[in-house]
């Protein structure tokens, strides 16, 4: 059975690109436009992993991650940040909040493969 991945990004272009790559890697892909939408999705049916943007309207990625990790059902979900927040301090902040890996945009298939492999998703 295919693993599920929730792509959370307010950019449609990024969602479409990520979907194409992840489907090619065998994932069943869902998407959300902001952290709140993503959180609601995760509470209904936690995916195997979340590819998470940081800067989004309504609820940003960092707040989503903290909220997800505070829930019992959200602790085992692999979360990989995928963001333009590329400075070292942001990377550390994201990892401290409970991310499993960190992608600095822009990304390509090679980066996605590498990072998903690092956390045992492929």
């Amino acid at each position: 059975m295919a693993k599920s991945c929730l792509v959370v990004d307010d950019s449609k272009i990024v969602r479409v690109m990520a979907r194409k790559i992840l489907e090619g890697l065998g994932f069943e892909v869902f998407d959300a436009e902001n952290g709140q939408e993503a959180f609601d999705f995760c509470m209904k049916s936690p995916p195997a992993c979340v590819l998470l943007d940081w800067n989004m309207p309504v609820m940003n990625g960092l707040d989503f991650l903290k909220k997800l990790r505070s829930e019992a059902s959200g602790k085992s979900v692999k979360v990989i940040f995928c963001t333009t927040q590329t400075d070292a301090e942001s990377v550390k902040q994201g990892m401290s909040a409970g991310a499993d890996e960190y992608i600095m945009k822009p990304f390509d298939e090679g980066v996605i493969k590498s990072k998903f492999s690092e956390v045992g998703l492929i």
């Binding site: 400075d87 070292a88 990377v91 990892m95 992608i103 600095m104 090679g110 590498s114 690092e118």
Partner: protein
């Protein structure tokens, strides 16, 4: 002469130049890409004007194909693709076996086609993480990595240890990025920490030439994955023979799995599993399994290591008869 004829002859000329200069095969690229790359080389080479395909051809065939331009052409057609921890299983195996040596004082490894240095730094990262685990640093055990590439530009980059956001995300996990690299001012770039760079000596080297004198002659491993696939097969075989002669008796030659399959059957006799408690990943060939040439011939090769200067021009030599291809 038609454009098609130009392209065919240009390919022929480049095929010869690449093989003679570096043992390389002309990559399977379209004519338009080939001409564009060559033109780029022309325009970046001193004050060369933009050349037509016909002029490129005469440039390639004629005496005007001077050494510096030849080097530039070889550089633009050589494969520089690399990544951190490419073939992860190899690094895990080396980490478990070679880089956690209990008895030796120095582990010596040569990355013989290191491109911009990611492979060499991956060895350093593996080593330092094992050190942290085992506190071997106190024993004085050290890692010495020698890393070379045909490309002067790639080596220049490798020496700086500078990588952009894109480079550091191919094969490197975020923990290793934060632990072994410093973000550069302005963002977008990372620099390997000096402690990591200190393991490695970078130098430009053409694998068809004799290895430099400062390279140790009993190396624990030579890493050359994904390189011989770009070589003319007969030259690749001779490169392997030379590299194996530089290995310690228990040393390893590391190729890509497909390359090990191609050359291993002929040059390496026994399954590598026979020489290790744990089966190494595909692509790792044990020096102890090397059978061609025989031991006497290999010893002679070691004695006359400095003899052959240019493998591409020499299919055999009185001193190195085993280099002859069958």
């Amino acid at each position: 002469m038609s454009g098609t004829q130009d392209a065919v002859r240009l390919r022929e000329a480049l095929t010869i130049v690449l093989k003679e200069s570096a043992g390389l095969l002309l990559p399977p690229i379209e004519d338009s890409v080939l001409v564009a790359r060559l033109r780029a080389a022309c325009t970046s080479f001193r004050d060369r004007p933009r050349l037509t395909p016909y002029e490129l051809l005469s440039f390639a065939q004629g005496e005007r194909f001077e050494p510096a331009f030849r080097n530039l052409v070889v550089e633009i057609f050589s494969d520089k693709k690399t990544a951190f921890f490419r073939n992860k299983e190899t690094f895990a195996y080396l980490g478990d076996n070679l880089l956690s040596l209990k008895t030796k004082k120095t582990a010596t490894i040569w990355c013989a086609a290191c491109s911009t240095g990611q492979e060499a730094l991956s060895l350093g990262i593996t080593w330092r993480k094992r050190m942290a685990d085992s506190a071997q640093e106190e024993t004085g055990t050290r890692l010495a990595v020698y890393a070379s590439d045909l490309s002067a530009r790639a080596i220049k980059t490798a020496r700086t240890g500078h990588y952009n956001n894109f480079d550091v995300q191919h094969g490197l996990n975020v923990h290793d990025l934060l632990g072994f690299f410093d973000e550069q001012q302005g963002g977008g770039f990372w620099k390997a920490k000096d402690t990591l760079l200190a393991h490695t000596t970078f130098f430009q080297h053409n694998l068809l030439r004799s290895p430099p004198s400062f390279l140790p002659r009993r190396l624990d491993a030579i890493l050359l994955p994904h390189t011989l696939q770009n070589f003319d097969a007969s030259i690749a075989e001779r490169v392997i023979v030379r590299l194996v002669s530089l290995l310690a008796p228990e040393g390893w030659l590391v190729l890509a799995p497909s390359e090990a399959e191609q050359y291993g059957e002929r040059l390496f006799s026994q399954p590598v599993e026979n020489f290790s408690d744990r089966a190494p990943p595909k692509g790792m060939l044990s020096r102890r399994a090397f059978v061609y040439p025989d031991r006497d011939a290999l010893a002679a090769l070691q004695r006359s290591r400095e003899g052959t200067q240019d493998m591409s021009r020499q299919t055999s030599s009185p001193r190195e008869p085993w280099m002859q291809t069958s």
